[in-house]
């Protein structure tokens, strides 16, 4: 990751003294160097497009997507990893984009709801959510859909879940498995049963 000049100078000082216990950089001295927020450059692939951003190190992946790249399909719900509204797929895996820093994703390949499909070319999971009415207000839906797409891959990859009866046999594509695996996506409107129907329909079509 390219780092800012000031950041580099501080790190240089630290690295140069590695293994020599003193000098020790005190909290007070170090905090003084942070009167201005630390900035950092990050390059990542978002929905197939390379993007380079200069961000405050505090920027979460979620805020980078929404505020810097204006990909507002990914939602901020709780901002603490409890609701799943911010779910995106990073390097093939669903994650809470609110609990990871943008700078940790230098070189990552991120797919958001916009990358799965757009109104003129819907992803099958998006189409199924519409068909089965898998939402009311729609705020959790982008996270639900990103999560659901990744869940089907997890089952196909043989990753077990809490409700899998056996750890040695491949998990089955049944409602109980989908419910358990989708538990990190909260729907305040309670569209859960329709969400499971939508995912089930997509699951039944071989990938």
């Amino acid at each position: 990751m390219p780092i800012s000049r000031r950041n580099f100078m501080i790190l240089g000082a630290v690295t140069a003294t590695a293994f020599a216990m003193p000098p020790f950089i005190s909290l007070k001295a170090y905090a003084a160097s942070l009167e201005q927020p630390a900035m950092s450059k990050v390059t990542l692939q978002v929905n197939g497009k390379p993007q380079t951003l200069e961000v405050d190190t505090r920027t979460t992946l979620l805020d980078a997507l929404r505020e810097h790249l204006h990909l507002t399909g990914t939602k901020k719900g709780c901002d603490h990893g409890q609701c799943g509204a911010c779910t995106v797929i990073a390097d093939g895996r669903r994650i809470n984009s609110c609990l990871t820093l943008a700078v940790m994703h230098d070189g990552s390949d991120v797919t958001t709801i916009e990358g799965l499909g757009m109104p003129d070319k819907l992803h099958p999971m998006q189409a199924a959510f519409i068909k089965h009415d898998g939402y009311q207000c729609g705020y959790c839906t982008p996270g639900q859909i990103c999560s659901a797409v990744a869940v089907l891959k997890e089952i196909r990859d043989g990753i077990p879940s809490h409700v899998s009866p056996s750890l040695t046999e491949p998990p089955k594509l049944i409602a109980a498995e989908l419910q358990e695996r989708m538990s990190g996506n909260i729907c305040r409107c309670g569209a859960y049963s329709n969400i499971i129907e939508a995912i089930t329909e997509v699951a039944e079509v071989p990938a």
Binding site: M1, I3, N7, I10, L11, V14, T15, T17, A18, F19, M21, P23, F24, I25, S26, L27, Y30, A31, S33, L34, Q36, P37, A38, S40, T57, R58, T60, D79, H80, G81, G84, R93, R94, I95, N96, L99, T100, L101, V103, M104, S147, A150, V151, E154, D157, G158, I159, P160, S161, H162, S164, L167, T168, Q179, E180, R181, M182, S183, G184, N185
Partner: protein, 318 residues
Amino acid sequence: MRAFNYSRADSPAAAASQAAQVEGAKFIAGGTNLLDLMKLDIETPVHLIDINHLGLDQIEATPEGGLRIGALVRNTDLAADARVRKDYALLSRALLAGASGQLRNMATTAGNLLQRTRCPYFYDTHQACNKRNPGSGCAAIGGVTRQLGIIGVSDACIATHPSDMAIAMRALDAQIETVKPDGSTRSIAMADFHQLPGNTPHIETSLTPGEFITAVTLPAPVGGTHIYHKVRDRSSYAFALVSVGLILQKDGTGRVAVGGVAPKPWRVEAAEALLPKGAKAVSERLLEGATPTDDNQFKLTLVERTLASVLAQARETA
């Protein structure tokens, strides 16, 4: 969130050295707990050392017939590893009972061990908390304590360790491998890793400043029937009220570790010796000296009944 500098470590020893030299520096791996706490100003590191690119994401067989799990192996990958599923099913089951799919994809093996308590008084910066602010008192004592600890707690802190994975690691006699800032390495038994609160609840592990976890090692498989049963307020994505990890051998002997009740995975070898006598004998010995509150004394009964259920299930499947 407070401002911080960010860097990527080149090696575990360099990460340890760097952490020891900058007061208030922290390692970041999955970030699922640390960033949550940083947003709340409970953790306020001035420097984050990203350790995600150190190649510590492999699970290797050891010459002793066990497994060496890299510190950065994600919870999902550890739970899904074929060797873990076959020989250390308790570990797979405990991992799968924790958090959500998204979080397990991010959370790491070492990070899971180092996660902080979910005591609501620790999370609320307006409340007194000896863990968050040493010497400030404990608002949990006399407060709402249904989720909190019943044993191993002190007058200074009654928080529990929230990990499911750690319960399995304790029952499996895992060892934690570390490197210190001076480059020396050591191995810490799971039993000695988490510290009881006493008068210093802010000290949670036996790690020294800058000490970096490189791996968690499992001894050779012990066989037996492995069951992890987590009792919680909803059936998924919730912390345990009580959880029981059991390894039961055909001869009726075995191992028991319990979660949701203590500041560390709770295992008492003398209690395990009573397994042939049944759940009541084991849980009485296991929880001897417990100091529950009115709100959480139900956990005493819940441990016994959960253990009875798990023992019955193990005997059926054995």
